[in-house]
Amino acid sequence: MIRRWLPLAIFLTLIGLLYAGIRLNEQRNPQVIPSPLIGKPAPAFALPDFKDPSRVITQAELRGAPYLLNVFGSWCPECRVEHPLITELARRGVVRVVGYNYKDEDADAKQWLARFGDPYHLIVVDRDGRGAFDWGIYGAPETFLVDAEGIVRFKHVGALTPQIVEREILPRLKGAQP
């Protein structure tokens, strides 16, 4: 008697699993690699200042208040999409934004900033992309939230959206203030 219903039961189980899989993947992009740095200290770096290449900027300089590290490049179209939001965050004083100019040319980056605005507290330059390995950066745009003690609290891959800011960054900022 039960044998008759077994194939149907198996089929329904598989359908259920398929549905669960589809729903799970709606929430997240499976291509995005999660950051293993969450909860750990941000990697030490020593990169030149965009505006004054003879000056080297390190983590120590950024301690004391949280900051967003925004990975951008003039070659990156999605960076343009999120730039107004980044600008608003910086101008409103919500959090200071440190620009990470990734694999770019100085002239191109200058032009890009002149055209789209420079809201950055400061900008570090990573010309060949080596500094990026320690952060686990693999493209742009990417945004990290680092707290006042230098611990990475959040990473977002892709263009920042108001929903992400609302849901993920603002609540963490409240916890990240010294």
Partner: protein, 147 residues
């Protein structure tokens, strides 16, 4: 006739041209052994951008950067395991084609064998039941058959 051989020559030339494109970024190897080890190691790592390709095959910019980094780490004297760990610390276990056996990856490693075993048991049970059914029902004795 000339047309056909001309076309054949052009196609052949294109084949060689496309092979040249594959020399994406010529890294200078110190010797054969280094090149072999490098190719082996990078084929065991996943490209973080073009995630269907290995680090060896991918033409993404980040892949070229990471290949150079792997070569540098090799030259610094790091072992294969150390290099893999270096990358996994930064880009998670996702970069490894064979992730380490952890509580989180237990299902990943055991599921295929478990499903295969389950299927084999099911087949075995079904076949045995059928065989038993046949045994208990002997064919009817039809004496009109000739052979």
């Amino acid at each position: 006739m000339i047309c056909r051989t001309l076309i054949a020559c052009v196609l052949l030339a294109l084949c060689f041209a496309s092979a040249a494109v594959l020399a994406i970024d010529p890294l200078q190897y110190r010797d054969e052994a280094e090149e072999q080890r490098f190719r082996q190691l990078t084929s065991e790592l996943r490209c973080v951008m073009c995630q269907n390709q290995s680090l060896a095959d991918s033409s993404a910019g980040i892949a070229a950067d990471l290949r150079r980094e792997v070569l540098e780490l090799m030259r610094e004297g790091k072992s294969d395991a150390e290099i893999k760990q270096y990358l996994a610390e930064r880009y998670t276990d996702f970069v490894l084609y064979s992730p380490p056996l952890r509580p989180g990856t237990l299902l990943l490693w055991l599921a295929p064998a478990a499903v295969l075993l389950g299927g084999a048991i099911a087949v075995f049970v079904i076949v045995r039941r059928r065989a038993q059914a046949l045994n208990t029902a002997p064919p009817p004795n039809d004496s009109t058959e000739e052979w």
